[in-house]
């Protein structure tokens, strides 16, 4: 085998091993990014709009309040912005039992250690007719989801 061919083959050989090794490292690294999460998804379905009464309804499992005013819906997070306890709706305001924060019906702070207003979550109607909340997306306090007779208006 003459020298030049040898060098080329050596280069190909070493290159192959290096590339393959990097591929293996890449594959191993990729495996650590889970493809499925065993946790509640950030976007989830609640009940159908028609199942909610007017006013403030607590959803304990999802830690939020569904507020209905006839056809208008919005969702406020029940997680206190201070240190994460669940706030309690007391007909005219939200009270947090942990350190005494108080919030207006729209989630803005009245008093207490809470640094900011309660989050409002983006709310839509799912294709099969359920209220759908995206807890990763916040909306302004003038957000209202209007639900017509056949779902989203």
């Amino acid at each position: 085998m003459d020298f030049d061919r040898r060098r080329i083959l050596k280069f190909i050989g070493k290159g192959s091993v290096l590339a393959a090794f990097l591929g293996q490292i890449g594959a191993a690294g990729r495996a650590f990014f889970p493809n499925v999460l065993y946790e509640p998804p950030s976007r989830f379905k609640l009940k159908r709009p028609g199942d909610y009464p007017d006013g403030y309804t607590l959803d304990e499992a999802h830690r939020l309040y569904v507020i209905r005013q006839k056809d208008a819906f919005h969702v406020i997070s029940a997680i206190c912005t201070h240190l994460g306890c669940n706030v309690q709706w007391k007909d005219t305001e939200f009270d947090c039992p942990c350190h005494g924060s108080r919030f207006h019906p729209d989630g803005t702070v009245i008093s207490g250690p809470a640094p900011r207003a309660l989050d409002w979550f983006a709310t839509t109607v799912s294709p099969d007719g359920f209220l759908q909340v995206d807890s990763a997306q916040e909306v302004a306090r003038d957000f209202r989801l209007l639900v017509g007779a056949k779902g989203k208006a």
């Binding site: 091993v17 594959a27 191993a28 495996a31 493809n35 499925v36």
Partner: protein
């Protein structure tokens, strides 16, 4: 700049591609990874046709299993409720999870086979004589560790295959006289296979047995150095010491000056000559890298082509028909199934005869063979030495019988442990719908 990089690269990698004999010698002293090699190895040891590099292949498989095993540990959950689901996740939801699991499984099965074949090679070449007897015993213990590693790992998927294979295996262990039930009790962590069993087998499999095997492996390598190298060199040594050397001309001093002629000198070599040896770096390290590559490719190919088996979730109330031990133990199951002896009122259980006594006897003979062997020492390090014909034949026949029993157990046994020849239709087992 390019020169600086090249210089840096040379500084880190010189030991692996030494440019001179001096660098080759220094490599094994100055490089951590190479320090367990001798400066030189005998050419005879490098021969493919002597050892087939089976020991290196076993070590390669151990490395593959360790790396894939640690990766798997990030995903597997040793809980009876979650184990099966975590394996399903590996198959379907983890990127490259299927390949990872497959490679681990096939490397494991391969290692049992390769370690055995390595042991057979050592036997056939009589490479356990003299000081190598210690290493032989270490090797037997390593072989048993390999079997136990495979056995403990077999339970972890917690499927029907796993559960019942371990039921069969531990029931055989129970038959050991006096200590049997106690052994089974601590193996299982109780009387039944359950969460406590799974946890014990898991810790044995991922920590205790690997550490044990690694320590023994290190000692196994140490012994090779202490024994002077592979037994192949003994053959070379014998040849060298048997052959008279040409006497070189020397000079001697007499009363009146220097006289030509010969002086006192050794007429034959006392051992290996320089021409019998080559530098470990790069020759042996290159060869080892090649063996690792070949073994890795084979396991990767197997992982790409064949899926590791996974049956239904373990169900203690439903025994699959038939229930088989893993293939490397199924020959024991065959013996157990066929050696129950009934004489008058007495019944000697097959599990005792075929499961404990016979394999125990074989194991004892195997371990003590270096001290039982009566063939002349000059046969060591050679293949098919005529003086070893009888013992080689016995070992070969015993191996063949075990292989036959394994084939019968794996391929010919069907429902109710009846024999079904290939082509013979097997009864359709009833199903739900």
């Amino acid at each position: 700049m390019g020169d600086k990089i090249k210089g840096l690269w040379r500084k880190t990698s010189w030991a692996w591609s030494p440019d001179s004999e001096r660098e080759s010698s220094e490599a094994i002293v100055k490089n951590f990874w190479l320090h367990w090699f001798p400066a030189k190895v005998a050419r005879a040891s490098m021969d493919w046709n002597y050892s087939f590099w089976l020991g290196t292949a076993s070590a390669a498989l151990l490395l593959i299993l360790t790396v894939t095993g640690v990766m798997l540990m990030f995903f597997y959950v040793p809980s009876t409720e979650r184990a099966y689901g975590s394996i399903k996740d590996l198959q379907y939801a983890v990127s490259f999870g299927r390949l990872l699991r497959n490679q681990h499984r096939w490397a494991a099965e391969g290692m049992v086979a390769i370690v055995y074949i390595h042991m057979a090679r050592v036997f056939f070449t009589g490479a356990y004589r003299g000081t190598r007897a210690v290493n032989w015993v270490v090797g037997v213990v390593l072989f048993l560790s390999t079997l136990l590693l495979s056995f403990t790992g077999y339970l972890l998927p917690w499927d029907q295959l796993a559960f019942w294979a371990i039921t069969v295996g531990t029931s055989i262990a129970k038959q050991a006289p006096v200590v049997g039930p106690t052994i089974q009790f601590i193996l299982l962590g109780g009387h039944e296979i359950g969460q406590q069993t799974l946890l014990r087998f898991y810790v044995l499999h991922v920590f205790f047995l690997p550490v044990f095997a690694l320590v023994l492996f290190a000692y196994h390598m140490w012994r090779i150095r202490k024994d002077g190298g592979l037994a192949a060199i003994e053959r070379v040594r014998n040849e060298r010491t048997m052959a008279p050397k040409a006497t070189p001309k020397t000079k001697s001093y007499s009363l009146f000056g220097i006289t030509p002629g010969t002086s006192v000198q050794v007429m034959s070599s006392t051992g290996l000559e320089q021409s019998d040896q080559v530098f470990s770096s790069p020759n042996m390290s290159r060869r080892i890298a090649l063996v690792f590559l070949i073994v890795f490719n084979i396991t990767l190919l197997a992982a790409l082509l064949f899926n590791a088996p996974l049956e239904g979730l373990a169900n203690p109330s439903v025994t699959p028909n038939p229930a088989k031990a893993p293939w490397y133990f199924v020959w024991l199951q065959e013996l157990v199934a066929s050696t129950t002896v009934r004489m008058g009122g007495f019944t000697v259980s097959g599990a005792l005869l075929g499961g404990i006594l016979l394999p125990g006897f074989l194991l004892a003979v195997l371990t003590l063979w270096p001290w039982i062997d009566r063939s002349p020492l000059r046969t060591e390090g050679r293949w098919l030495a005529p003086e070893r014909r009888r013992q080689n034949a016995t070992f070969a026949v015993a191996t063949l019988l075990v292989i036959v029993l394994i084939m019968v157990g794996v391929y010919l046994r069907g429902p109710y442990w009846r024999i079904y020849w290939p082509g013979q239709p097997r009864p359709e087992m009833p199903r739900f719908y």
